[in-house]
Amino acid sequence: MLKHILKDLRFHRRFLLTFGVFYPIYLGFFGSRLSTPTVAAIIGAFLYALVPIMVFSREDKFKAVGFSLSLPTTRREMLCSRYVLSWIMMVVLYLAGSLLMIAMPGGKLGPAKVFGLQTVLLTLAMMTLIYAALMPLFIRFGMVGLMVFLVAMQVLGVVFMLLRMAIGKSIINAIRALPRLIGSAAAALGPAGAAAVVIVLLVAVNMISFVISAHLFARKEF
């Protein structure tokens, strides 16, 4: 697996350096202007989850996956290394962006807010959900999968707006009840217990995503 990770880092070094510098600076500056970390966490998670997909899409674009699969490896091993490398990339970018958010002159968020347990778990949860949905779509449809995901998000927003118009505020109240429900469950478990449950759930979501991707990757032809 390490060989694959080093290969991908070598292959995409310049691309990674560009995004590795730009995204954290952008998120650091953007987040530092906010007084609560929630919005920055959600937008940051979305951008960071896109980076690994963009990296792997380059290999698709250059039709180089066939060569990678001709190396002494298996598809499962290659995919596994992609998941691991993705998480390394996302966590490194997240840490860099968060540190810049704190360090940016005139920033309104201190370390306690940026690295508060709730913010960290929210960011990890968002990254997991976006990445776990994106990766199988990307494996199956390539860059078109990414587009499908982005369009689906837009459509979801429109559907939500239409529902709100049709049903009224009850849908908003229903959605707002969800965090309260999670909050009361978390309070019952205590911070450590709640964090443990969330992390277990996130690992499970990642594993489900991996199993689906592995199934799709095994059937793909190059």
Partner: protein, 288 residues
């Protein structure tokens, strides 16, 4: 002689194309030329050998081991060159080689550097800046630098200048001085086969025409030229393909010795080259 590669009843169906029960064996210490027109199925066979596409049936064994059961170990012994070498385009050649090297237990860095010097590869340049010929040379250098026991080359000579093409073919013959090694290369440049191949496998429209030692091809396949009497019953069943020209009839047979005795007066029998056979299958009006 042990088999370096054994392909048995390989099948693959695409919309509008079927690879139909292909079987052949590449013995160790030999070069097998896989020949056929564009679209005949050569690249599909090679992709199936490397598990880049899923087979619908059949089996592939490399050095006696099933490909799917021992994929990683088998690929460590295979050097592969694709007909259109594709790597991450904006990576430097030296980075591409450094990324590939750790995958192969027998990677020889000094051999790679000497091949790069010999092929004139600009290691500090990006892959996308290279010509097709240089990309092919780079791909060859990677395939040769890890001491592969089986080289699988898909149209390796396409896009190469005649001088390097000759050098490559000589190098392939040189590799076989080590009898444990073997080469499978696909091509539609049949003169390459005449020079180097020990065995020839001809594919036509997804089906196997023959897989034979080169001298057997030369002994048994012939082109017969003559008048319309060639199409009479005693001879006609022995023809694999027939072509009618303004000057008479030309027919291809795989039973040259059998036909020789009963040839009508005025008819001429010439040994068929691989190119003749290929052309007949592409252009012949009927196949027996």
């Amino acid at each position: 002689m042990t088999a370096a590669l054994e392909v048995r009843n390989l099948r693959k169906r695409y919309k509008g194309f079927t690879l139909d029960g292909i079987s052949f064996t590449v013995p160790s210490g030999t070069i097998m030329g896989l020949v056929g027109a564009n679209g005949a199925g050569k690249t599909t066979i090679i992709k199936l050998i490397l598990n880049l596409v899923r087979r619908d049936g059949g089996a592939v064994e490399v050095f006696g081991r099933d490909l799917l059961a021992s994929e990683k170990e088998i690929k460590a012994r295979i050097g592969f060159v694709h007909e259109t070498p594709a790597f991450v385009e904006d990576a430097l050649l030296k980075d591409l080689a450094a990324a590939v090297a750790p995958f192969y237990p027998k990677w020889d860095g000094s051999l790679f550097r000497s091949l790069a010097a010999e092929f004139g590869l600009p290691l500090n340049k990006k892959f996308k800046t290279l010509s097709h010929g240089t990309k092919m040379k780079f791909s060859l250098a990677l395939a040769l630098a890890h001491g592969a026991d089986l080289l699988v080359l898909d149209e390796p000579t396409s896009g190469l200048d005649p001088v390097f093409r000759r050098e490559l073919l000589e190098r392939l013959s040189g590799i076989l001085q080590d009898e444990g090694k073997a080469v499978l290369f696909s091509t539609h440049i049949t003169t390459d086969l005449e020079k180097t191949a020990d065995y020839i496998t001809l594919i036509h429209d997804g089906a196997l025409v023959f897989s034979l030692p080169k001298h057997d091809v030369h002994d048994s396949w012939a082109v017969i030229k003559g008048g319309a009497e060639l199409l009479s019953p005693p001879l006609r069943p022995l023809f694999r393909a027939v072509r009618e020209t303004p000057y008479g009839v030309e027919a291809l047979t795989s039973a040259a010795e059998k036909i020789k005795a009963g040839l009508p007066a005025g008819a001429v029998l010439d040994r068929a080259s691989v190119e003749d056979i290929m052309l007949f299958f592409e252009e012949g009006t009927s196949h027996a």
